[in-house]
């Protein structure tokens, strides 16, 4: 599903250049649930941004579902993001003046799905994350866990190939964290490919594979026994 070869990325900080990713080789099959771990500054967020086409790599190859991702125009990148990827952020990143339902319907709007169909579909996804009764609520009226669930519904609404989660539990207490992870596991059970960036061990162990990043290189890549989040909920 995802294949990257010898990925390099450096940032210019004034006159210094900061080499963040120093040759990453990495492959994700369909249906995998991968945790990307590392301390801050290890390059995990940068990697996720490149995978999410939010940022470009300096060199190396990146193939997503057989499509080479290289030198994309902003228009093309936006199209691919919409079609291939769903984002889940640490800070939820819901649009404040739109209701939960409208937030979920947003990616569908960009796909030019007709209004009625869009709302039906969005409602369906909201239902799946258990928030149907909150459909008309605005983000300010939702709890952190609820917001993240809306964000997950939004990420899923466009039926992307890959879900990218950047510290999805970073802003949540452990109980809601497990609830969110439970949801992510269930989505994964349905066959969706998910990448989770985290620095929390327990969250990482709820995935099926852990990739350790340190100073811009992969130091460890192992399959693990998945811990179901259900038991903590």
């Amino acid at each position: 599903m995802i294949e990257i070869k010898d990925l390099h990325k450096s940032y210019k900080m004034g006159s210094n250049s900061l080499h963040v990713l120093k040759g990453i080789n990495f492959k994700v099959e369909e249906g995998e649930l991968v945790a990307i771990m590392g301390s801050s500054g290890s390059g995990k967020s940068t990697l996720l941004n490149i995978l999410g086409m939010l940022d470009g790599a300096d060199s190396g190859e990146y193939t997503l579902d057989g499509v080479p991702i290289k030198n994309l125009s902003e228009t093309k990148a936006a199209q691919y993001r919409n079609k291939f990827l769903g984002f889940i952020f640490q800070s939820f990143n819901l649009i404040n003046y739109k209701s939960a339902l409208e937030n979920v319907a947003l990616p569908l709007y960009y796909q030019k799905v007709p209004r009625k169909e869009r709302q039906e579909k969005a409602m369906q996804y909201l239902d799946r994350v258990g928030l149907k009764p909150w459909a008309t609520h605005h983000p300010s009226e939702l709890s952190g866990g609820q917001k993240q669930r809306v964000a997950i519904a939004r990420a899923m609404a466009a039926e992307p190939k890959v879900l990218l989660a950047d510290e999805p539990t970073g802003a949540l207490d452990s109980k809601t964290s497990y609830e969110v992870m439970d949801l992510i596991q269930k989505i994964n059970d349905e066959g969706n490919t998910i990448l989770v960036v985290t620095h929390e061990e327990d969250i990482a162990h709820m995935c099926k594979r852990i990739v350790h990043l340190k100073d811009g290189v992969i130091v460890e890549d192992k399959k693990i026994e998945q811990v179901r989040a259900e038991q903590y909920v």
Partner: protein, 418 residues
């Protein structure tokens, strides 16, 4: 364009900070208000001045003879000559694009003696010998009976059309002038019509005229072939100012006047005068536009400024939207439409406000009576659509830089802003 979600969003953004929106809108509103009021004031002045030209066809010249100032072909200097009736045909043959050529003769004039008698009443009036075309050059409304026609000319009928002023002098209020006779310098003419001129240019004088057939005039008052002066109107497409040199030179040739004698043929080019006034108002209008647009410009800059702030405030939101796959162009369009919408709405407020003020001035003018050189200030539909176009364009311009800056932010940076 007519997308429900997009419009909802525009309204949400603009109403999220109502006072800011109102203050921004005021700049544009004020600019367009100034523009409209200045243009209307210019138009009012124009109407006031042009009123003095009356209804006279403006593409017209008047031509008469004077004494020659140079000897030519054995003829002495200081010789007097007259236009002849066949000069009219000669002009028609030699100069193209002329619409009307009216030879005219006149009795009476400024400070003239009483020359018209009816019973025991008398009066001093201008009496013109004319062809029927004159009604097109010096428009008047025939209020009863009819105007001159070619049968009158051909049969040299002694008939007359009198002005309302003449009618009021010579007839009682309830008397019908049609079919009665008036005596002009001892010759009886049958009154066949009355007219009223609606231009105030001639004032009362304009209503105190009598028109009789040119041929009857010549015969009755012993003018022979002579023509007092001519009123010549060119076709709409061509300017009399261009044609007049040709006409004058034809006349000089026919009357053996030295070609360089500039004084022998006198003329008055109404079109040139009119043009002078016209270009004055053109300049006035240009000034109004410049001032108005300058004021509008500061309003536009205000809008642009606010849109920049809006974009800044929404940087994160824009980042989210782009992460979700919104096209850059769509974001740009959103910002542009917000900007155009804001300018258009506030501009329309300005137009409405301006129209109300003009309406107020008009009703004030109506109630206090006519003012010199100023009459019914107004703006045409053309000006309003022009103003709306200016608004559209300026809204687009105002939104352009903010929209550009909105899509220049990379989504990753936008998402990082907290």
């Amino acid at each position: 364009m007519f997308n429900r979600d997009r419009w909802r969003e525009i309204l949400e953004v603009l109403t999220s900070n109502v006072w800011r929106t109102i203050f921004t809108a005021f700049g544009v509103c004020w600019g367009i208000f100034i523009l409209i009021v200045l243009l209307a004031a210019g138009k009012g002045l124009e109407n006031g001045i042009k009123k003095d030209f009356g209804d006279i066809a403006t593409n017209t010249m008047f031509m008469w003879t004077r004494a020659t100032t140079r000897a030519y072909e054995g003829l002495p200097q200081g010789r007097r000559f007259e236009f002849k009736i066949n000069d009219v045909q000669a002009i028609r043959d030699n100069v193209p694009n002329l619409r009307f050529i009216s030879p005219r003769n006149q009795l009476g004039g400024f400070g003239g003696n009483n020359n018209v008698v009816r019973g025991i009443r008398t009066g001093a009036y201008n009496v013109y010998g004319d062809y029927p075309e004159i009604i097109n050059q010096d428009p008047m409304a025939v209020t009863s009976g009819r105007f001159l026609n070619y049968n009158d000319i051909n049969e040299k009928r002694k008939v007359a059309i009198i002005g309302l002023g003449v009618r009021n002098d010579l007839y009682d209020k309830d008397e019908d002038p049609l079919g009665t006779y008036i005596k002009i310098q001892g010759v009886n003419f049958l009154v066949i019509g009355t007219y009223k001129k609606n231009n105030s240019g001639g004032g009362e004088e304009g209503q105190k005229e009598i028109f009789v057939p040119f041929t009857s005039f010549s015969q009755a008052f012993n003018r022979g072939e002579d023509v007092g002066w001519m009123a010549i109107t060119a076709n709409d497409g061509s300017s009399i100012s261009v044609l007049k040199d040709k006409i004058v030179s034809v006349m000089k040739e026919r009357h053996k006047v030295h070609p360089e004698d500039t004084r022998a043929v006198g003329y008055f080019d109404l079109y040139e005068q009119y043009n002078r006034v016209e270009s004055l108002f053109g300049a006035l209008k240009a000034v109004a536009y410049i001032v108005g647009i300058m004021v509008l410009l500061s309003g536009i800059i205000g809008v642009s400024n606010i849109m920049l702030i809006v974009v800044k405030e929404r940087t994160k939101e824009i980042g989210i939207r782009r992460a979700l796959g919104e096209q850059p162009w769509s974001i740009k369009k959103q910002i542009l439409m917000e900007s155009i919408f804001l300018t258009l709405i506030s501009g329309m407020m300005g137009i409405i406000f301006g129209s109300l003020v003009i309406f107020g001035i008009n009703s004030l003018l109506d109630s206090v009576g006519p003012v010199d050189m100023f009459m019914s200030p107004s703006v045409s539909v053309g000006v309003v659509t022009g103003a709306l176009t200016i608004l559209m364009v300026s809204g687009l311009l105002a939104g352009f830089i903010p929209a550009q800056s909105a899509i220049r932010v990379r989504p990753i940076e936008a998402l990082r802003t907290e």
